[in-house]
Symmetry: C2
Subunit: 383 residues, 2 copies
Amino acid sequence: MRVLVIGGDGYCGWATALHLSNRGYEVGILDNLIRRHWDAQLGADTLTPIAPIQQRLQRWKDLTGKHIDLYIGDITDYAFLSKSLRQFEPDTIVHFGEQRSAPFSMIDREHAVMTQVNNVVGTLNILYAMKEDFPDAHLVKLGTMGEYGTPNIDIEEGYITIEHNGRKDTLPYPKQPGSMYHLSKVHDSHNIHFACRIWGLRATDLNQGVVYGVLTDETGMDEMLINRLDYDGVFGTALNRFCIQAAISHPLTVYGKGGQTRGFLDIRDTVRCMELAIANPANSGEFRVFNQFTELFSINDLALKVKQAGISLGIDVEINNLENPRIELEEHYFNAKNTKLLDLGLEPHYLSDSLLDSLLNFSIKYKDRVDMNHILPKVTWKR
Amino acid sequence: MRVLVIGGDGYCGWATALHLSNRGYEVGILDNLIRRHWDAQLGADTLTPIAPIQQRLQRWKDLTGKHIDLYIGDITDYAFLSKSLRQFEPDTIVHFGEQRSAPFSMIDREHAVMTQVNNVVGTLNILYAMKEDFPDAHLVKLGTMGEYGTPNIDIEEGYITIEHNGRKDTLPYPKQPGSMYHLSKVHDSHNIHFACRIWGLRATDLNQGVVYGVLTDETGMDEMLINRLDYDGVFGTALNRFCIQAAISHPLTVYGKGGQTRGFLDIRDTVRCMELAIANPANSGEFRVFNQFTELFSINDLALKVKQAGISLGIDVEINNLENPRIELEEHYFNAKNTKLLDLGLEPHYLSDSLLDSLLNFSIKYKDRVDMNHILPKVTWKR
């Protein structure tokens, strides 16, 4: 089985590519490396020093004997995308290749427009390339739990059965995304759904929660294979950021009241979920949606867990409630379903077990690399 | 009250601009005139010969003494948009300025990408320009009934109250659009909803049905003010197309079984709906959705009505069921609500009254201009 991982140089993409390669899949990585460029523009950097993609892949081959093809270029360039696909001939296309930061998309109009155009056009190009040359391939696309927003009813996996005025239908779950980035994922979902309905393509949309952790079996094999770990106000996600703040004795930056509840998962479960989705493809014409998270936590829950973990390592962790730079409900109902991946065989890593080994210890090991200028949020939703 | 009509050189936009000007609004038109260029590229033309926008506006002034400002440029060019808005200082922004043909968007990948980028970026630019300089202005945006698709439950106006597992919430109505164009409108709706929630903008989304007719009080005043009437397979909508086919004794082109049911309205009601939405603005922070149509018909209903109207004019009208170039349900449940504009005072023109005077007679008058090459559909959804 040949799997092309678009965005394979990124946080989830790199871990996924190595995991699949390790499991015997023939893997290719397609990436424009733009994330490294955006880091440079923001003056931010991953806590863990990541090697150039070419060196990463060489080390992987030296260690395991497994070769990963590399295609460097941009999927918004259709000619490049089409040529690369024809060369690699994928059975599965894993698509992580999008601008994935909510704050980045909210910096200003230019970043909002760039995020939506980049993500929507990239995904449209993949859909057209599949229709043209690989109509039977399986698209495994990274969505986000943030597409749903925080409705006052249970969140189902992609669809909801509605009874209304004596009639019934199962329809796409209503979406109330909370940033220009999250909106781009909603646009993608509608576009992919349409392509499946009209052209008979097969796709799985993985509405992923917030991923934490830096260690997988593969990225832990060698320093040169280490995964990125972002802690800055733009690309750093809540739990990773908190652990790094704890490591440098900076108060944890809880936005607002901290009652915001979200789905979370360990990056070891991300790579396993990708494997499960690939091994159990959607049917032709099916737009399948899985909610990809293992546990629900409020931001306050997370901060307290990091504080406790800190104590066990002898670190005193303070918690600060900052003015929320985002506009979002800070106290709300949140109950999302996540049974479909469990049904396929996912055995979750739980946060309590993973926090120390996969995250806090890494944060401490590399804490001298922290740039204090990037700890606090700079992007606000209001202006 | 100052109203800027973006897309004011088009079918709905031109009629709306003149109507508002006639009613005493201070009107500006902003348009990049691209629709005339697309016609040229397709080798298609409106049945009714339309004058250049500059001559149209000069004649309007000569006839009524009313001046309409003209801004020629593209709203995807933010600098131009922002400058024009600052110059005109609108209280209301009416936004018709999008690529509005489903078949056009389905020609190929390039047209799909262009349609989505053009429509999404244009609307995003308007939202950012409003946030920046006109946070209290009212955006009146043309949506489409096609955003809903054909669900098996009643279609509400923008939102639906869902009871689920013992809890209840009112959420955006689920969307299942049927073309790359209709998808772009769904993307817009999500983006505008977000801007209202986050920045407190006020917006009304008019989910319009299929518009028919060529005559309004204003466009009928003078030959130089005549509105466009499209009959080609790309820009011609069902009823307009049927009337022109009847006028030239071409069989009516019903796609597939003809059981496709949609909402329809007379262009005289379009302009009145715009006026009602403008005179009764949305609240700050509100994303208001009206379903803008007056009657539901199946395509077979329409074909039969045109056939009957033809008989009364002594024309023998044949009906042909073509292979459907689109992919859509040809027999389905369809019951959409449309009470909100009626509550504001809309008094509908019904099709039975309008068919002859506003449409079939125009078709006959200009039938020598019909280009037979454009009668049949050339764009298919499958390839």
